[in-house]
């Protein structure tokens, strides 16, 4: 909407300026004035259009738009007949105070020095009130007429002269990052005000001789040229501003994820080599003359704190865009780092799971080798001995011995198989399998599980493994007196908690049993936690997601 209105305004100004120029040419109005006015109006309207796209520069844009309209109106006396031509005479200088405000504020939001403000009030009174009064009231009493004429004459010399002083003051006082912008408008203003001042002086002195008359001629032409070209200067500044913005955004995007390069790009964009980029939460340094701004991510978390010279706030739009770009680059870097970190964690846990699998296979081989295999070999040895024994009683004794050893071997195999994956878990689920953990434990194990609760096989197997390991740990390392196993089934998740009253102090160590449990639970997208304060028992909990 705003864009559409702006375009309509721009189009109107351009169209009117063009039409006025064509009309002037058709009426045979000669001279460079209509052309200069047209060029100026077009340049002013275009720079206004460019500036108004910046929230902070919208006011400057509006002022330049108004100046463009006034400039076109001032052309009226050249193209219209009286009394309509009077419009041109009244508005002849109106664009000057409008542009003047821009010259003394741009790129900031307000006039900084008090006397500049008074100067602008005087300029506005002079051109917008006193000058039309003089034009519209030619028959003022002689006394008042003389006073008005005197004031206008004095103002015509003093105001441009004071404006020159003020602009030089602005130029010299300008600090980065507004320095370039201030210098651009100062050049435009000095050219305008300087030539105007000299032109008026020369006119006053024109009667003194042919030399001053010639000076008047030259300065008048120069002043008219400046009047036409000043808007072009402003247009160039508006273009420079946009180009600088684009270049700065490019710099920050190219800076990538490296905070040092981001800082350098920020320093260049803000023309402030003292810019610091600090970690969030860094305490502020010396506060005098410095500003601190937080750089936030898309989700609102503070990524870093930027510290810069206070002068950078004089162009808030520039500062805002630089901070936004830097935040974007940093956020990107952070996301990348997060991703890499997650990836590394996933890789590490995958490796740990593989290593744990290898370890458990090796342990299984050891258990088989040291247990059932040796027992069966002992059976073989005993049976071989039975063959050697001659008497019947001794042979029967040996065979009985072999049978006992065989029973031991079978027991051992059964125990081993149950440790890997008990048959009851497949048949009756965790509610049926968890109580069997108590059978083998030397301490009372209390099991609370909803009867008939079933989960996917991987979930049941993993929770079984967690519970079995936790019970083993509680007995072996925790010196527990009693153990409690709780199974909870919720919508979309299954939880097993094992608590004991042992000595506590259990910690997950690299390659340790708890880390292995955490990895197995993590591999299924679950969460695993251990709470084990010294002397106050251990609580192990695994929550696994499952579609139920």
């Amino acid at each position: 909407m705003a864009r559409g209105r702006e375009r309509a305004l721009l189009g109107g100004v351009l169209g009117f300026a063009g039409a006025a120029a064509v009309f002037a040419a058709l009426r045979g109005v000669s001279g460079s004035v209509p052309v200069l006015v047209t060029v100026g109006a077009v340049a002013l309207a275009t720079s206004a259009h460019l500036l108004r796209r910046d929230a902070e520069q919208a006011r400057h844009g509006l002022l330049l738009h108004a100046a463009a309209v006034c400039l076109v109106l001032s052309n009226a006396d050249a193209v219209l007949d009286p009394p309509a031509a009077l419009i041109g005479l009244v508005t002849l200088w109106w664009s000057v105070p409008l542009i003047g405000v821009v010259l003394f504020t741009y790129p900031g939001p307000r006039v900084v020095r008090r006397w500049h403000r008074w100067l602008l009030v005087a300029v506005w009174s002079h051109f917008i009130v006193l000058w039309p009064a003089a034009v519209l009231l030619p028959d003022l009493g002689s006394m008042a007429g003389e006073v008005l004429g005197g004031v206008l004459g004095a103002g015509a010399v003093a105001l441009p002269a004071l404006a020159c002083v003020g602009l030089v003051q602005r130029w010299r006082g300008a600090a980065a990052p507004e320095r370039r912008a201030v210098r651009s408008v100062a050049v435009v203003g000095l050219a305008l005000a300087g030539t105007f001042c000299v032109r008026i002086l020369a006119r006053v002195l024109a009667d003194t001789g042919p030399l001053m008359a010639a000076v008047h001629q030259v300065t008048t032409t120069a002043n008219l040229a400046c009047l036409g070209l000043a808007p072009v200067g402003l247009l160039l500044e508006a273009l420079r501003r946009r180009a600088a913005r684009a270049g700065m955004i490019e710099d920050l995007l190219v800076a990538g994820a490296d905070p040092a390069r981001i800082r350098t790009a920020m320093a260049r964009a803000l023309e402030d080599p003292t810019v610091l980029l600090q970690a969030a939460g860094t305490p502020p340094g010396e506060g005098a003359g410095r500003v601190r701004r937080e750089l936030r991510s898309g989700t609102g978390s503070v990524l870093a704190v930027a510290e810069a010279d206070e002068a950078t706030t004089r162009d808030p739009a520039q500062l805002r865009v630089v901070l936004a770009c830097a935040a974007l680059a940093l956020d990107n870097a952070r996301l990348q780092a997060d991703l890499l970190c997650t990836l590394a964690e996933v890789r590490a846990s995958r490796e740990r799971i593989v290593a744990a699998t290898v370890r458990s296979r090796r342990r299984l081989e050891r258990d088989l080798h040291d247990g059932a295999q040796q027992q069966l070999l002992a059976v073989a040895a005993t049976l071989a001995r039975a063959e050697l024994v001659a008497d019947g009683a001794g042979r029967a004794c040996a065979v009985r011995e072999a049978r006992d050893q065989l029973a031991g071997a079978l027991d051992e195999l059964r125990r081993l198989a149950r440790g890997i994956h008990p048959a009851v878990l497949t048949q009756g689920g965790l509610a049926a399998a968890l109580p069997t953990l108590g059978d083998a434990a030397p301490v009372p194990v209390d099991v609370e599980a909803p009867a008939g609760a079933r989960f996917p096989a991987a979930v049941e197997s993993t929770l079984w493994f967690v519970a079995a390991e936790a019970v083993t740990n509680a007995v072996r390392h925790g010196a527990a007196g009693a153990i409690r196993i709780t199974l909870r089934a919720a919508t979309g998740s299954a939880t097993v908690a094992v608590t004991d009253d042992g000595r506590g102090g259990a910690r997950a160590t690299p390659g340790g049993g708890l880390t292995g449990l955490a990895d197995r639970v993590g591999a299924l997208g679950g969460t695993f936690s251990v709470v084990s304060p010294l002397g106050r028992g251990t609580s192990v909990e695994a929550v696994l997601p499952c579609a139920s």
């Binding site: 040291d370 027992q375 002992a378």
Partner: protein, 218 residues
């Protein structure tokens, strides 16, 4: 024979001890680990030792290293290593020895005659290799195609030779005379290009030659 046995599994060690005692041998000591074994060897100077390959602390090759240590201290004591698995790598390591060493699967405890036979051979400075290990070596060679020239009989004789058996022993196994075995053996040596003269003189050297062939000519 006076024997010392070493195995970390108590139940198997006891079973083995009682079996050997039932077979009429004197088991002077049984040890659960290498230090106890070495002490027992020093104390009793047995004719032969039976050692488990996997013993504490690392359960890898403690038995083999203990055997090497005993061999260094007392070259005349026969050493019979027992293992749950047939590892040809151990056999290869034993080939470096001059004899008096054997390597059997623990499964052989169900055949007292074979177990005692192997013990006697190593105690006498001979060699005893488990048939399964020899079979896997021969299988490997057959895959390489070099043993195809042998007849079935000759291959059987080769396997028995590799296990450390004498011509007379092989003859008993195959129900032929020792002379016939000699003929087969000569054919085998000739076909494989092994030095028959050296092999005939010394049974242990013969085993080493055959095993070396099976191991390294692959």
């Amino acid at each position: 024979m006076r024997l010392v046995i070493a195995d970390d599994s108590g139940i198997f060690r006891r079973g083995l001890r009682r079996l050997l005692e039932a077979a009429g041998h004197d088991v002077a000591a049984d040890a659960a680990d290498v230090p106890a074994l070495l002490d027992a060897v020093e104390a009793h100077r047995p004719d032969a030792c039976l050692l488990d390959v996997r013993m504490p602390p690392t359960f890898s090759d403690e038995g083999v290293r203990a055997a090497e240590e005993i061999r260094r201290r007392h070259p005349t004591i026969g050493l019979l290593l027992l293992s749950t698995y047939a590892e040809t790598a151990w056999a290869e390591r034993l080939l470096d020895d001059e004899g008096g060493v054997g390597y059997l699967l623990k499964d052989r405890v169900d055949d007292v005659a074979e177990l005692v036979g192997a013990l006697r051979r190593v105690a006498a400075g001979g060699t005893a290799l488990d048939p399964e290990i020899v079979a896997s070596l021969v299988r490997r060679r057959r895959l390489a195609g070099r043993l195809d020239a042998l007849t079935d009989r000759e291959r059987r004789v080769l396997e028995l030779m590799a296990r450390g058996m004498s011509n007379a022993g092989i003859g008993r196994d195959l129900f032929v005379s020792g002379k016939t075995v000699e003929t087969y053996a000569a054919a085998v040596f000739q076909k494989l290009g092994l030095s028959g003269e050296r092999a005939d003189r010394d049974r242990n050297r013969r085993v080493l030659a055959v095993l070396a062939y099976l191991q390294h000519a692959a």
